[in-house]
């Protein structure tokens, strides 16, 4: 480790300080942690605002007015109107901005439907069918069974979420026996899936802990070098 320039050392010291402030939350909620979190919220809000202005608003709303083609200029002009109405949302005349938000909701709903059908429904359906291995010379009994288990898991998990129960009102919410039985198998697969995902999230968090503790150790070594070269 070689001595580093002053601004980086100040930066590292700030990082070290904030790391300790956040770790203090383990002992319990305390003012130091709140101080660090409110600085964090302010800095990130400012950072995201600058990046958004620099990467979206300037190149797509302002620049086309001067350098864009006729079509782009027209689009930018048209975009100014709903944008101004969006600013009404933080004024008493907030209802005037409803139609601007409605544009976003319309786009959001369409993207959700389109994404769900083309991005999830079709690929996952095809993936489930592909999981099943036709018995060929190369396939082993083990892989065929695996394929069948994966398909069974997908079907029974889907059936577990079946909402409807018997038709007669006042009847207790008893599902049909077949659905109930398949649902139980599905619940097993759901528990396995969530267990695997939880372990994955835990490993990511543990990796972050390892990285932070090694940063603290590196910083202490660096400080030693910086103070007593």
């Amino acid at each position: 480790m070689s001595p580093i320039n002053l601004s980086d050392f100040i930066g590292l010291s700030l990082g070290f300080l904030f790391t300790l402030l956040v770790f203090s939350y383990i002992l319990g909620d305390n003012p130091l942690f709140r101080l660090a979190s409110h600085i964090f919220i302010g800095v990130t809000a400012g950072y995201v605002a600058i990046i958004t202005i620099n990467n979206v608003l300037v190149p797509r709303l302002f620049l086309p007015l001067f350098t864009g083609t006729r079509g782009e200029r027209l689009l930018s002009l048209m975009l100014f109107i709903p944008s101004l109405f969006l600013f009404m949302k933080i004024t008493p005349l907030r209802k005037a901005g409803n139609w601007s938000v409605a544009i976003l909701v319309g786009i959001g709903a369409a993207s959700a439907i389109g994404g769900a059908i083309t991005g999830t429904l079709f690929p996952q359906l095809l993936g489930t069918i592909n999981s099943f291995e036709t018995p060929t010379k190369s396939s082993t009994i083990f892989s065929i069974l695996n394929g069948l288990m994966t398909v069974l898991g997908t079907m029974t998990t889907l059936i577990y979420f079946h909402f409807g129960t018997g038709h007669m009102p006042g009847q207790t919410a008893r599902q049909r026996p077949l659905i109930k039985f398949l649902g139980k198998i599905g619940h097993f697969f759901i528990a396995v899936t969530l267990g695997v995902l939880f372990a994955g999230v835990y490993l990511s968090a543990l990796s972050a802990l390892v990285e932070r503790l090694s940063f603290i150790w590196d910083y202490l070594n660096q400080m030693q070098i910086q103070i007593l070269p």
């Binding site: 770790f23 939350y25 400012g46 958004t52 993207s111 769900a116 889907l158 759901i190 835990y202």
Partner: protein, 214 residues
């Protein structure tokens, strides 16, 4: 089924834009129209973000005046937000006026304030998740909870790469769990979520759900 529209114009806009963008997914001819609306959506989402930040600023400014025990923190937040914005505009001014590589200062803020805090927040999650796993069986004690509990342990054991080379089947069990039952369950969950998403989106496009004050 009686539907009363309080803001018919906003409802019409939401349905019209939604239908065009959705058609763009499936009808190749409408793809360019879909892109046009999506780019408009990008710009509006960016403007909404800026308006949201102004709202965040106003909310905390008001909290500063209330002088309860949180107003001090609101002052710090407002100060940090203003300082970052000023540094950011200074960087942008330098890059557009003098062509210098921009965002040097704001990257410094990101590297030495935002990054360490976020990774520390993630690191503290390791303690919280261990605590949650330890107390899990205290809250739920049914078969599936026990399955969940032992699967977590099995996957963690299978991830070990030290002290266990002599027992390779542990990692093979982990691999099988991840690639067979977990994959089946994940696909079922994703397909179910897709159906729910389609239903939620369609309710917006036919105008029965109108969260925009319609």
């Amino acid at each position: 089924m009686n539907i009363k529209f309080k803001t018919p114009f906003a409802t019409a806009v939401a349905i019209g834009v939604g239908v065009i963008v959705l058609a763009g997914y499936f009808i190749p001819g409408l793809i360019s129209l879909r892109f046009l609306f999506l780019r408009a959506g990008l710009v509006l989402a960016a403007v909404a973000l800026i308006v949201g930040i102004l709202n965040l600023f106003a909310v905390h400014f008001r909290k500063m005046a209330q002088n309860d025990d949180n107003s001090g923190y609101s002052l710090i937040l407002v100060f940090a937000l203003i300082a970052t914005l000023l540094i950011g505009f200074f960087d942008m001014f330098q890059s557009y006026m003098f062509g210098q590589p921009n965002f040097q200062t704001i990257s410094w803020l990101f590297t030495y304030i935002q990054l360490p805090i976020e990774t520390s927040l993630m690191a503290v999650m390791a303690v919280s998740l261990t605590y949650a796993a330890t107390r899990f069986l205290r809250r739920n004690l049914h078969t599936y909870a026990v399955i969940f509990f032992f699967i977590v342990l099995m996957v963690l054991i299978g991830t070990l790469s030290i002290f266990t080379p002599e027992v390779p089947f542990l990692s093979q069990i982990r691999q099988w769990i991840v690639q067979v039952p977990a994959l089946g369950g994940a696909r079922g969950l994703l397909l179910g979520i897709a159906l729910g998403t389609i239903a939620t989106g369609l309710r917006i496009l036919i105008g029965t759900d109108r969260p925009y004050g319609g």
